[in-house]
């Protein structure tokens, strides 16, 4: 099938690569760009392992064509840490609260949690559970993921208050 050039910004870097019209964004990221943080877990938009952030929204990249992200601003788990390698507070929260085991859902979880905390900076447990309900985890039973997000929310709040 004929390929066309697709360009977008991924984790702050302008990228361009060839893709078929039917190429899914997750395959474009993983196979063409070598961004293997987002994973494929179900192909049907249920598990959320492929979650990336596109123009300020959480998107399941297994159900979007690469061409649909033409010109978009894409953020993946690889773009979460600071330029100097400092972990984001969400990443830190997952480590501190044992919010991961096999790690396969983690990139999607962290990417989704990032957007959730933008949308709802101080979420209750219930809001976190609903906010992450599009991301499945088979290892943790979710409790420590909820704690990890709370950890991040509290730290972000404290940082915000200190800045004010």
């Amino acid at each position: 099938m004929a390929k066309t050039a697709v360009s977008m910004t991924v984790n702050g870097r302008a990228v361009e690569a060839l893709a078929e019209p039917r190429t899914l964004l997750i395959h474009f990221l993983r196979d063409q760009l070598g961004i293997t943080g987002p994973h494929v877990g179900c192909e049907t938009s249920h598990c959320g392992a492929c979650t990336v952030d596109i123009d300020g929204k959480s998107v399941k990249s297994c159900t979007l064509f690469a061409v649909q992200a033409q010109g978009a601003e894409v953020l993946t788990v690889e773009g979460m840490a600071g330029a100097d390698g400092t972990l984001s507070v969400i990443q830190e929260g997952f480590m501190q609260e044992h919010g991961l085991q096999c790690g396969y859902c983690t990139p999607g979880m962290i990417t989704r949690a990032y957007r959730l905390l933008q949308e709802t900076p101080n979420p209750s447990e219930e809001q976190i559970r609903w906010g992450l309900s599009g991301n499945l985890c088979r290892c943790t039973g979710y409790q420590n993921i909820v704690k990890a997000v709370r950890y991040a929310a509290e730290k972000l709040q404290a940082q915000k208050e200190a800045a004010e």
């Binding site: 972990l87 044992h98 085991q101 096999c102 909820v146």
Partner: protein, 801 residues
């Protein structure tokens, strides 16, 4: 590197990060930054992709396969069928259970989505086009879906290839669809006990077919280096060494020319123990093409073809005296193994360790028998987060004791207490042959009941019942058997189920340890280091743990059946003790005293009575490479192959409280309390994590999971659209607790914990749901307890909306 020279005792202990500390996980750094290395992340130069043409029929004869149209698709490189594999004798492969499984369907297909042809192409899209283009003509045959009909005289014969075989692994057959009969216990004495019993109960208990469903499906990359004659096989393997041996046996490649690597594995839960056609086809493809071939299954492939679990139709019976003391247990199981006998159990155990079915109770006599049968469903029967059919056994006894309690109107906690194996009885030999190493069931139950205010809950339940409301309290006091296993009775393909650890201490006092197991999320890189730290006094932060590469790790049997802690962690402790023994000799030489004058303190040997005279492990490590006493070799390393003297028997006491809405059938999990006793606790944070995860999987199984087939063998819902995986919303909050009863035979007293919450969790949920209806005469309800089914129960009782 950590310098411990000037620290206080407490600081040294803390720096060590040894057994008992809630050490943060070493593996997290890469996973939270998207730098894990799972099999689909492996990108070798020139890699091509392979995937399967799969059968739409559950039972059909293949009349013809036309691969030619596929080969004309741009990007398609080759299409393999059984005919291509036949000259290599690879169209069938041996199963772990002594049967054979078609790699690519040979003349017949036996289950829906069975592998029929393997299309190899430049990328996944070309392969998908190629799969569409392969033309297969089938002749439909009657499908056998119901295992209760498998042994009827007029049942369709499924396995024509095995029709004349007296055995397909694990025992004599009596029908073309029969696989084996396995029984154990004293049948006559059991029958006698039942004949004379004051009270008996009987219940048919079905444990439905479900699936481990790890978030990462199975896959591999096979890379044949034709110049060197060496095959490297990367894959989602829970047992990489076993895979290497299997590949050698079936491919004819010498084992030293095969390297198997398990990179990061995204959950396993038993799904990734077995050998699948994808591994064989990718390997053949790479040998033929001289290019790496990647095969990654889809979620639908995963749920419908690789490694289902359970599917045990059990009939349980208990005999008891009027006070509820159990006098005998009898049970029969019809085990649906699907199309091939490829379940994963230790070779001599056709029903795994199902004979742990007497559970935590002192039952004087028992008999159980299991019949394995073929059906037109996917093959398997793996130990899903379970030590070989323990989950089914625990479900049976934990449900049956509730049935008995209801029959005699005895409280469900009290009847357990009356039947417990007492703490004073350990080591306890069960009537079905196991020797339980240690336990204290009563203490665990007491603690659990107090924690949840059991009496208060029962009072509340009585009040609610009086108002016509439904509330259930489920108890499970289960015993596990894990740590397979002693080589005298546990092997896979004739290889004993030992495990191994090799430790090397570097001159500057850090170390690397390699083990024969493979973490799939359990946190081995963190916890094994803690054990070694405590044993040899090197901080866990200074110890690298490596697993999964058969070229470097000592031979081991892998991670499943909660065996890593009971077996490989024991090997780690023993190897570490060898190092400490040598270190002691070196320390004595350094300090110019006899070995008997030395005593061990956290991270150093001290001279008794002269506290300032000491040699730290860091100093000893350097000395091991330069100034040794006469007769000692350089270096500080050791290897241990550990053959456990016995299994370990973790146990727990769980309480689940539910409210049921009779108008919708909705079951609300109000509370779940889990007390686990896994002996010595290596890392409480990791243990809690394992328990949370196991409980969530138990919740999924009990409340919503089932692989259903229609009458012609179509699998109903093999995607996450239909197959229930709990989200954070439905998943309850977990309360965890513990007691500590160390294993007397394990070097550090640890027992293993990963599977307990799944084994004990499922009956706790089920018992709670049934308990909500107990006052209405309901003794059993079949899992999964979906809203629909629960509502149907309400409707049948005339209380539904």
């Amino acid at each position: 590197m950590t310098d411990v020279k000037e620290m206080t005792l407490e600081e040294r202990e803390a720096t060590l990060g040894g057994i008992g500390t809630a050490r943060k996980r070493k593996e997290d750094a890469r996973f939270i930054q998207g730098k894990g290395n799972y099999v689909d992340d492996i990108k070798l130069p020139d890699t091509v992709v392979g995937n399967f043409v799969r059968s739409p029929h559950a039972h059909a004869r293949i009349k013809s396969i036309n691969t030619e149209p596929a080969t004309r698709i741009p990007g398609v490189i080759a299409v393999l069928t059984a005919d291509d594999l036949r000259p290599l004798n690879l169209h069938w492969m041996p199963t772990l259970a002594g049967d054979a499984q078609a790699v690519l369907a040979d003349e017949k297909v036996h289950f829906q989505n069975q592998e029929v042809a393997f299309v190899i192409g430049e990328d996944r899209y070309a392969v998908a086009d190629g799969i569409e283009a392969v033309e297969v003509e089938y002749e439909d045959l009657p499908a056998l879906v119901d295992p209760t009909k498998a042994l009827l005289p007029d049942a369709p014969v499924l396995r024509e290839d095995a029709q004349d075989k007296s055995e397909v692994g694990q025992g004599a057959r009596r029908h073309p669809n029969h696989i084996f009969t396995w029984d154990c216990g004293d049948k006559d004495a059991t029958d006698q006990a039942f004949a004379g019993a004051a009270v008996t109960v009987k219940e048919e208990i079905f444990y439905p077919r479900c699936h481990p469903c790890p978030l990462e499906p199975c896959g591999c990359v096979a890379s044949m280096d034709k110049v060197r004659g060496e095959l490297t096989l990367y894959g989602t393997f829970q047992a990489p060494h076993v895979i290497r041996t299997v590949v050698s046996l079936i491919s004819g490649l010498a084992e030293h020319n095969i390297r198997v690597v398990s990179p990061d594995v995204g959950g396993g839960f038993g799904n990734k123990v077995g050998a699948y056609p994808g591994y064989v086809c990718a390997t053949v493809g790479s040998i033929v093409l001289g290019r790496p071939v990647k095969w990654i299954e889809s979620r639908i492939d995963n749920l419908s073809t690789t490694a289902f679990a359970r599917d045990y139709l059990m009939t349980g019976e208990l005999a008891a005296d009027p006070d509820g003391r159990i006098t005998a247990l009898r049970c029969h199981v019809l085990a649906d193994h699907g199309a091939f006998n490829s379940h994963a159990q230790p070779s001599k155990w056709p029903a795994g360790f199902f004979n742990i079915v007497t559970g935590s109770y002192d039952i004087p006599v028992a008999h159980c028998s299991v019949d394995g049968v073929f059906t037109n469903k996917a093959p398997g029967g793996v130990a899903y987060r379970c030590s070989f059919r323990v989950t089914e056994a625990a479900y049976l006894i934990e449900r049956m004791i509730d049935v008995l309690a209801q029959k005699l109107d005895i409280d469900k906690a009290e009847i357990r207490r009356r039947n417990f194996v007492k703490a004073s009885q350990f080591p306890y030999r069960s009537c079905l042959g196991w020797e339980y190493d240690s336990g204290d069931y009563e203490t665990a139950l007491d603690k659990a009941l107090a924690a949840v205010d059991y009496e208060g809950l029962r009072r509340e339940q009585a009040e609610k019942r009086a108002r016509g409301e439904l509330m259930g309290i489920g108890i499970a006091t289960f015993t596990e058997i894990v740590g397979a296993g002693p080589t005298r009775n546990c092997d896979i393909l004739g290889i004993g189920m030992f495990d191994s650890c090799e430790i090397r201490v570097h001159p500057t006092g850090s170390a690397i340890a390699r083990l024969g197991t493979k973490s799939q999320g359990q946190g081995h890189e963190t916890t094994y280091a803690q054990i070694i730290a405590t044993e040899i006094g090197i901080p866990s932060d200074d110890i690298t743990i490596e697993e999964g590469d058969t070229d470097t790790a000592p031979y081991g049997l892998g991670t499943y059946g909660s065996r890593s802690t009971p077996v490989a962690a024991a090997a780690a402790a023993q190897a570490a003790r060898k190092i400490r023994a040598k270190a002691k000799k070196i320390a004595a030489h350094m300090l110019e005293v006899g070995e008997d004058d030395l005593e061990w303190e956290i991270d150093r040997f001290k001279v008794r009575g002269l506290p300032e005279k000491a040699a730290s492990m860091k100093e000893i490590a350097m000395a091991a490479y330069q100034s040794l006493p006469e007769g000692l070799e350089q270096g500080l390393e050791a290897v241990n192959y550990y053959d456990p003297p016995n299994f370990t028997y973790p146990f727990g006491a769980y309480v689940c409280v539910v409210d049921v809405d009779p108008h919708t059938g909705e079951v609300k999990i109000r509370r779940f309390y889990a007390l686990d006793d896994c002996g010595t606790r290596i890392n409480p944070m990791v243990i809690d994590g394992q328990v949370h995860g196991g409980l969530a999987e138990a919740f999924g199984i009990a409340m919503g999971q089932e692989l259903v087939f229609d009458e012609i063998g179509n699998i109903q819902g093999a995607s996450l659209m239909d197959y229930f995986l709990p989200t954070a919303v439905e998943t309850p909050h977990w309360e965890t607790d513990f007691t500590v009863t160390p294993s007397p035979h394990h070097p550090i007293g640890a027992k293993g914990v990963g599977e307990s919450p799944n084994v004990g969790g499922v009956p706790a949920f089920s018992n709670a749901v049934v308990d909500a209806f107990a006052h209405l005469g309901v003794t059993h309800m079949t899992m999964p307890h979906t809203h629909w089914r629960v509502w149907k129960q309400c409707e049948a009782l005339g209380i539904g909306g």
